[in-house]
């Protein structure tokens, strides 16, 4: 059922009509219901009945100051989290900081462009609706990154609480589903693979996102192994996968055949894989398209790479991205997909992915535990990481941003 969106109500409290009139007109045009009031005390009474979605108030008001009005309004339970924007002719930093520290959502100095206020109001409501969407999602489940929590961790978590849930995993362009009933994995779906194969492939995913929907699951059991057996198999698989993966470029790197074109020395399986690389392909695409088990395919790709039959695409990141740009110019409507693709290419080039950071952190921890640590003392790297801190407050940064805009 389509939800009807209610018109948002905005209360403006300011005694200067040269600002309130154009502001009311612009916000009304923007689809908001606007009520203006020139007296803070009366506005407070009005606010109790109006149920406004946003309040914009001048700091210096007759009868009651904007700051006091803010405190009074926020003390009303219904207005505890209603967004509040201050307007002011005061350019003093202290005044702004005080407003922000009180908990206002924004602070706008006069004179202002009404378009700017409308844009900020739109942005504020956008943020709020995004937040409430996330909150409603978190009420029925939870989500996160597979780098932080892999499938083994997720299954163990659900098993502990004997929970029923549907796990949705996203890795590159693939999406897999796992059904858990009372803490036991009962089915898994991924492309056209069998439930066991689907699960085994998803065990090796260490990048991407997951979403767990806590819900009752009524489904025929297609995976008969117990979680304990699945987890043991999964752990073994992860360890084998990582071992084979060592020495290979990242799996979303693009590879091509080299000039070696006699495949007599290759095994039948290697031959089959290399014949399938007729154009540039990402490593994970080769593995996914292979008819062999993923571990075996990965081992074959590694062997071909080490023997020099395939190599990373020689085209530089720039020229490669240029191809995408040419494509983009032809088809401007694919912005989201291509955006993600360009991001992935650039990420590979800069090689500072979260995974790598995790690895660096692990190596650092290992070094910390070395017996001769005392002799070498703390590494400079450890100190540096701790020394960086932001020396400005959030209010300062908001001010800088406002001035830059």
């Amino acid at each position: 059922m389509e939800e009807i969106e209610q018109v948002k109500k905005i209360l403006i409290v300011d005694d200067d009509t040269s600002y309130t009139v154009p502001l009311r007109n612009a916000l009304s045009k923007g689809g908001y219901e606007v009520v203006c009031w020139d007296d803070g005390q009366k506005a407070l009474e009005l606010a109790k009945n109006l149920q406004a979605d946003l309040i914009i108030a001048e700091v210096e008001l007759p009868q009651i100051s904007g700051h006091d009005l803010f405190k009074e309004i926020r003390s009303i339970p219904a207005y505890k989290s209603v967004p509040f924007i201050f307007l002011s002719s005061q350019k003093r930093v202290d005044d702004r900081i005080k407003s922000m520290e009180l908990g206002a959502d924004d602070y706008i100095t006069k004179p202002f462009y009404v378009e700017e206020i409308v844009a900020r109001v739109d942005a504020l409501f956008g943020e709020i609706s995004q937040l409430s969407e996330q909150q409603s999602q978190s009420e029925t489940g939870f989500s996160g990154s597979l780098t932080e929590m892999n499938l083994v961790d997720l299954i163990q978590t659900l098993e502990l609480g004997k929970k029923s849930a549907i796990l949705k995993l996203k890795h590159n362009s693939s999406i897999g589903m796992i059904y858990v009933m009372n803490g036991e994995v009962i089915d898994a779906l991924l492309d056209d693979l069998s439930p066991e194969q689907s699960l085994m492939r998803m065990f090796t995913w260490n990048t991407g996102n997951f979403y767990v929907e806590m819900t009752s699951v009524n489904r025929e059991r297609k995976i008969n192994e117990l979680n304990k057996e699945l987890i043991t198999a999964g752990m073994r698989r992860i360890s084998q996968w990582e071992r084979i993966n060592q020495g290979l470029p990242p799996l979303n790197s693009v590879v091509i055949k080299t000039e070696l074109n006699t495949y007599e020395d290759l095994s039948g399986e290697e031959n089959e894989i290399i014949q399938g690389i007729n154009e540039k392909k990402k490593i994970y695409e080769i593995i996914e398209q292979s008819r062999f088990d993923d571990l075996k395919s990965l081992a074959i790709v590694k062997s071909l790479y080490q023997k020099g039959y395939i190599k990373e695409s020689e085209e530089s990141f720039i020229s490669y991205t240029d191809n995408y740009v040419a494509q983009l110019k032809k088809n401007a409507s694919q912005s989201k997909t291509t955006h993600e693709r360009v991001a992935s290419i650039i990420s590979n080039v800069f090689k500072n992915s979260v995974k790598e950071k995790k690895l660096i952190e692990e190596q650092r921890n290992e070094r910390r535990q070395l017996p001769d640590r005392r002799r070498y003392g703390r590494r400079r790297d450890d100190r540096k990481r701790e020394s960086n801190q932001i020396h400005l407050t959030k209010a300062d940064l908001l001010l800088i941003r406002e001035r830059l805009s």
């Binding site: 740009v325 991001a343 950071k357 001035r403």
Partner: protein, 165 residues
């Protein structure tokens, strides 16, 4: 002038002209210039300012003490020429070094010279940048265009605000 709070940002490029163009786009002028560093001041008001330190990492500046520079730096803006692959290759280790050693936001800017005929469609000038990791974003930009330079700076400020939230 009684500036009490200062935020420092390091602007890094292989090309000192790019660094100076960027600083001028934000601060209107270069306050101090020597063979290693260009400096510009962006005053928000009489109590708050951003200090922009522009460093070109060419051969002359091989022995830069990044540890010292990073100590009070809010973040790094690393600019490279989108058309020149050699510069990208040269700047990659610097970005890696920053990412590994300093826990501050890094904005990586692919500099595009002529906005009239950009090689990239406008939608690629992403206001939020393309996230590369928790601490770094990638964006396209034009260093001599004040609007573009300000957008790059706003991107860095937004990352800092996010970090404090």
């Amino acid at each position: 002038m009684t500036i009490l709070r200062i935020g420092e940002v390091a602007i890094i490029s292989y090309n000192y002209q790019e660094v100076e163009e960027f600083i001028k786009s934000i601060c209107d002028r270069i306050d101090i210039r020597n063979d290693r560093l260009s400096f510009g001041r962006f005053e928000v008001n009489d109590q708050l300012a951003l200090y922009l330190y522009g460093i070109s990492v060419d051969n002359k500046n091989k022995s830069i003490s990044w540890d010292l520079i990073s100590r009070k730096t809010l973040g790094f803006i690393v600019i490279f020429d989108w058309e020149d692959k050699k510069i990208l290759d040269a700047i990659k280790p610097i970005i890696d070094y920053f990412s590994r050693n300093f826990n501050v936001p890094i904005v990586i800017v692919a500099s595009i010279k002529d906005k009239k005929d950009p090689p990239i469609p406008d939608k690629f000038f992403q206001p939020d940048g393309i996230p590369l990791s928790l601490n770094s974003r990638f964006t396209f930009g034009q260093t001599d265009d004040p609007e573009s330079a300000r957008n790059i700076m706003i991107l860095l400020i937004n990352m800092l605000i996010e970090k404090l939230s």
